[in-house]
Symmetry: C2
Subunit: 313 residues, 2 copies
Amino acid sequence: MNGIGIDIGGTNTKIIVVDGRGRLLHEERFRTLPADGYRDFISRLAACVKRLKKEWSPVSIGIGAAGDMDPEKGILRFSPNLRWPSVPISGPLKKLTGLPCAIENDANMAAWGAYEMELKRKYPNVLTVTLGTGIGGGLIVNGALYHGATGSAGEIGHNKIEPGGAPCSCGARGCMEAYCGNYAIIREAKKIIKNVPAFVKKYAPAGHTELDPLCLTRAADGGHRGALKVWHDMGEKLGRGLADMILLFNPDCVLFTGGVSGAARHFMGPMKKVFAAQQIARPFGAVKFAVARNADAGVYGAALLGMELARRR
Amino acid sequence: MNGIGIDIGGTNTKIIVVDGRGRLLHEERFRTLPADGYRDFISRLAACVKRLKKEWSPVSIGIGAAGDMDPEKGILRFSPNLRWPSVPISGPLKKLTGLPCAIENDANMAAWGAYEMELKRKYPNVLTVTLGTGIGGGLIVNGALYHGATGSAGEIGHNKIEPGGAPCSCGARGCMEAYCGNYAIIREAKKIIKNVPAFVKKYAPAGHTELDPLCLTRAADGGHRGALKVWHDMGEKLGRGLADMILLFNPDCVLFTGGVSGAARHFMGPMKKVFAAQQIARPFGAVKFAVARNADAGVYGAALLGMELARRR
């Protein structure tokens, strides 16, 4: 059984075909060109899907995009990258291609992709934590993606860990993202590391010229005290934020995805220390932790969730 | 269809028989006498159930108690009120009475009782918030009680809203309960109300001689500024704690139960003001709020959940 996965970005739209185990069969991309309008985009997308349908006989389509979705009605209500009015996606695509089409926001698609491909559905109840520029997440409940009343379940970056604290990308203060997001990690590193250009020159991988999480990870690997402190502080804040969620949701497993999760070996220790100090100990004693190897599971998750829903119908 | 509901307390054990709609058919209680040991208790409980079985033909038993349960194995792992070692409950009771027996902690039973009896299962995804001496809660996901990896899902009282803040009953600092639990409300009231004896004399209902939430509710009803400020501050703190949970869980409805929920008309306004100021607005725009009329749904929930699980088997 094959399925099509689509990730609609503000610049490019990525399309893949995978088999039932998530193995990549085909991959392509085209320019999204949101300014040309929604109708134009849907007709180009449908043409591409029809061509792939002939070659790969997929049973379903799954679509992820950043923004606000109605998975039940198949509507993209708002996307910050596309700026169309609320538009139907699943209905028109099904009409044009004959394939059932699941949509979810990209954080939920990434959650499902990581759940199937990294955890092999091993645990029934999982909180996924996507660490990148922003912090997102998703909930798997009883082995199924849970999207909540308005499709935004797992919006974990904006819980408050320091009332009135550091400014967050969302406009509020003191959110977990404001301490553990990419930009916050760099902000803290610039306070701690005295000679940033020399630090970047020494630790950045080829082609990187700015202080970024990868550079900080490599420095921490080499024992750099400042970099280790950055990850220590980030892990402690992450632990405080996630502790509240573990108390509420009592998951079997917390699964980290996203680019910054590559530094897990440096932030997991301080994070677990926060959990070990919790008064209500059992949920923290029981929860497992995992780090996704494929940090970009979104478009795979779209393909796999589309197949999952087609199977269940 | 009838079912038996049991609430094991440290002092008394309450037993009810209800019909499929939660209407009370019979009610009794006996002394728990935990110091006489677990075997003695189970044999007395089984004798009572066997007697009720003859009269009412129940299809199931549901048991709630404060503490740490394993609902799948039917084991009471630890109860602060009983202090037995980890003991099996469902297995022995089924053997002695012939009835299937569901167990859950009392917060989960209260959540299910309120969900069936107050909301009539109207919404698929509900967060229940029990406001009393402590603050507990429960999660209903896709119309079923969700208990998480270790049966403690919905442990909402101990999320941190003020790092290093007020001391909580759990031993930590800054928990939501440390601002919104019964004891915290009284602590704050004593700071604000100058002449406490006169206040109690004026506002306490007959038989109450201490400052308590009911007294503060009556004073607020009468327009007492100090009492209104107590509820205002409590509502603001509650809003901050629940905001994080609404972001994670994205529920259709938040349902308040427990004795302190009787003051909802005073704390809901300030709470909703916190929600209205959230940057990520949609989950807060969509969520409904409800207050349970029957504040003590625990033993009803036990009876109803027992029947629900017996039906699903």
